[in-house]
Symmetry: C2
Subunit: 186 residues, 2 copies
DNA sequence: ACCTGAACACCGTTCAAGT
DNA sequence: ACCTGAACACCGTTCAAGT
């Protein structure tokens, strides 16, 4: 039997996916977890803390998916990020939205993910696929593009299907091509 | 004297800036506008429609700011977008967040802004500052980067001040540099 | 055409109390 | 240590009624 805390998180995650943070009512969470509507307060400070726990769990799962590979490929990491965001819009917005201090475990998970990503950028630079320079800053460029492309696509601001249509995957590939060309040209 | 509808939008905008969409309660909006808490329903279908009206107004204002210049500079447009987003986080999230059908005037304002931007991209291409190719797709790359950089910065995911720190403005400048180099190299 | 007061169903949160 | 039922203040929305 799952612990109450885990059941609460699982129930909240299902509600989040269905209708966003507004649909995550503690009453519905409690009902789905088989407890009263204020039992969550024994496990989380408030509703925001419950949502922060979901975000931390998503961040850790993404890290775990990549932990299998000894040195994960940069393109694979970005592809995974993009496809996860498009598959789970509400988790994407929650996880990479604003957290005011909230849970320290969230900040730690984010820091680890960033470090892994920066390492993959440095590896790609060594292979000559990316231009030289501070890998953290180049990594920020790649993360910002992937994040923005997914966010705009989810909001429908990237253009409808047809002529000028560009998927987030296309934009990431475009940026890689420009960066590689820039690296060779130097 | 402002029309009631305008006073409602102005009051809602002030509340949005202070505390996000959750702080925009129709009761508070009505109080600030000097009407009852359900008078807004005479002007907007519901709370979401009121928020959509704010988003449309912001989009139009951004367009009006650029309308002064006959052929607005691409860098200036992106700089304006970034600084607006950083100055008004709640408006940024609302305006470029998800709208489900909502108001048609919103989609129209967004379409106009995109067209103006694509034109500026094409002009920069003619000047040789950007590589050749579909201007709409290259524009999507630039918009996605600027949008993602602002969003990550607002959420605190771009790194704290210090070593690897990169502001959205820095990332936009980096991308321009890579693209120019890529254009020259070809 | 625009506005109001009362009412309804819902929500986050607190609290005294139970095991 | 964990959970419950009742209660409080708040919210979006509807409705009958007013000018």
């Amino acid at each position: 039997m799952m612990e109450t805390r885990e059941r609460l998180i699982a129930a909240a995650l299902a509600l989040l996916d269905r209708g966003g943070p507004a649909a995550v009512t503690l009453r519905e969470v409690g009902r789905a977890a088989g407890v009263s509507h204020n039992a969550p307060y024994r496990h989380f400070a408030d509703k925001d803390a419950l949502l922060a726990a979901i975000a931390a769990q998503e961040l850790k799962r993404q890290g775990a998916n990549l932990a299998g590979d000894r040195s994960p490929d940069l393109r694979a990491m970005l592809k995974g990020y993009v496809s996860w965001g498009r598959r789970h819009p509400e988790r994407f917005h929650l996880t990479f939205g604003r957290w005011d201090r909230e849970a320290p475990e969230l900040a730690e998970a984010a820091e680890q993910a960033k470090a892994r990503f920066t390492e993959a950028v440095a590896a790609a630079q060594r292979r000559g696929e990316l231009p030289a320079g501070d890998p953290e800053r180049l990594g920020a460029l790649l993360r910002a593009l992937a994040h923005g492309a997914v966010d705009l696509a989810l909001a429908g601001h990237l253009g409808a299907a047809g002529k000028g249509r560009a998927d987030p995957e296309d934009l990431v590939a475009d940026l890689f091509a420009y960066l590689r060309k820039s690296a060779e040209g130097g």
